[in-house]
Symmetry: C2
Subunit: 333 residues, 2 copies
DNA sequence: GTCATATATGGTACCGGTACCAGAGAGTAT
DNA sequence: ATACTCTCTGGTACCGGTACCATATATGAC
């Protein structure tokens, strides 16, 4: 492959002069610029960004490490990240951990070796080790979506607790008293925060812990199906079900349909996360919608601010509000 | 950030010795290895893969440039690519062009500068310029999914023509004579190949070109909605509709439902591409399913074979068969 | 005892760019 | 005429690794 020295030779100048033309830095006469540009296009020269990054000590790359690219919520977040990064002149490397801590560790290692300038991480578990490893190398990191047990890093997330509270209240106000909550893994804060919000609403309504009905599973369609079956078997049977994320909601709907249970006539349902238009032949689910795109943008902007210098500042936490979208999946009883 | 020389100094050895320990090459005594490893962990040393790639003249990175990450078909392909690459020790960089030739060009430029070892490309248009640019730099490239007007590069795709032929025949055999085809852009081979297969089936059934009813649009939900409306306005009104990809099928179903037209009672429908389980509350669409995951794997393996050496071979084309999955969206008439 | 081979380690240059400094010529203020 | 600034170009070293070759000792074959 062509190098800058070959270009320089053909153009009859020094390599540094070619470098100046390419990067548009320093002084270059019109004549020299033309000679160099001719040589560049004649040889089909493509600058090697590995060498550049090595010398500049920055790569212009950010990493987005998330848990499930097949989930439209995350592709929307990714789009927000991509847009914000691109506006600031950064490229984004996307990595998918499938909620596996081991994959997360492998990806982070590879990314640190590649010297990405910053990392956006959706932690596969509440695990400080990986995060500290990144921070020890002084690579800025922003935690997305999930709250950590300790606020060691910048974080951007949505208000799961409040969203869950509002959805639960909505069900209570419609007269429901047996409400089952199907949520994610017990070690993931977004899952447990939703439980907390749900509990608060029940307490405020004067219901004690006997009225609680929480099922922990995974943020997957399969798990949604399984948990609904468990929930329906409970005594007394719930009159409403609260799905803890979009995939759980889909699994729930599939299982309810398979069981011949009509929504909302026989059972009311609500969900966390909106479902994308592509999923919906008939958008009727009442949900707490998270501003996914904005979350991606906010997190990226925060990261870029850190890159620009204020790395010494204390960790910052941004909590975005969720929006309750009422549709037709809840009835009064 | 720590360098290999700092580690070497602390361990009391030469940098090259540290390099040998890290990469597990050459001879190292147990004692030296231990000293080096101690220094590495004490300093938290992370090798810089930019320098390594620079010296080794390879990065261990493949690029997957595709047109729409929000489409489950492509995420499935991406998973196949990721798995095959990872087995061979490569990492994958994923880039999303949104069908924009300009974005495609920008991404390719960046990727070439980053010296990716190989490229998997879903061309945003039938454009040889970008492809030749990659090939001029001797970077192996495999074209995914779409047929080029000239077979300049290795390609892996599914048999659109045959799939469309089979789906159309299926409709003809059920007695349908007015069949509308909603397909993608006229300049994309996957869209036009499906038209070709559709035509062949009509011809064989003795129908002339008056019976044809083809609508060109985009491979998007929006376009699916628009094209259905056009198709329904045609005289005579079609008794069956053939959606040219999964997103068109979703748009079609949404528009039909909005118009209060029941499927299959009032109109029969078939689609190209299967819809993923997550989309379906009720999987009932008869489709030609493409082996997306295998396509990703095959393409990657072909690319890796080229990397391993036989770059001089003539371009190779792999065409994978599609599978007709009959469900409940077609009735006899 | 000599030679060949396996084991273990290091010196130097190089991968392909750029930072930094030096220097030359032109223009202009005094 | 001198000093100073602006414009333009190049030499050298360096970013952080590794390839290649050289050297030294231990081991074994004959």
């Amino acid at each position: 492959m062509t190098t800058i020295r070959q270009v320089a030779k053909l153009a009859g100048v020094a390599p540094i002069t070619v470098s100046r033309v390419i990067n548009n830095t320093g002084y270059i006469s019109a004549e020299t610029r033309q000679k160099v540009e001719a040589a560049v296009s004649q040889l089909g020269y493509v600058p090697n960004s590995l060498s550049q990054s090595l010398r500049w000590k920055q790569t212009g790359m950010l990493a987005l490490v998330l848990t499930d690219v097949t989930n439209p919520f995350w592709t929307t977040v990714a789009r927000g990240v991509e847009d914000a990064a691109s506006e600031a002149g950064y490229h984004v490397i996307l990595c998918n951990t499938d909620e596996s801590p081991q994959k997360q560790e492998e990806y982070l290692t590879a990314l640190l070796q590649k010297r990405v300038d910053g990392v956006l991480l959706v932690p596969a578990r509440d695990d400080l080790e990986d995060i500290q490893r990144v921070q020890m190398l002084k690579v800025p990191l922003v935690v997305l979506d999930r709250r950590l047990s300790q606020p060691l890093a910048d974080a951007v997330r949505c208000d799961s607790e409040s969203g869950a509270y509002q959805l639960t209240r909505l069900l209570l106000e419609r007269g429901h008293r047996q409400i089952a909550l199907l949520t994610g893994p017990e070690h993931v804060a977004t899952a447990t925060d939703r439980v907390t919000g749900y509990r608060r609403a029940l307490r405020e309504a004067g219901l004690d812990s006997d009225a609680e009905s929480v099922f922990y599973g995974a943020f997957t369609i399969q798990s949604g199906q399984d948990m609904v079956r468990q929930a329906l078997a409970a005594q007394p049977r719930p009159t409403a079900i609260f799905a803890g994320n979009n995939f759980i909601a889909i699994g729930m709907m599939q299982a309810l349909r398979a069981a011949g249970i009509r929504v909302p006539e026989e059972i009311s349902v609500v969900g966390f996360d909106d479902l994308p238009a592509s999923l919906l032949l008939d958008p009727f689910l009442t949900v707490a919608a998270q501003p996914a795109y904005e979350m991606g943008r906010e997190a990226t902007n925060l990261l870029i601010k850190r890159l620009a210098g204020d790395g010494a500042q204390a960790p910052q936490e941004v909590v975005l509000p969720v929006e309750i979208v009422e549709r037709k999946s809840v009835i009064k009883r």
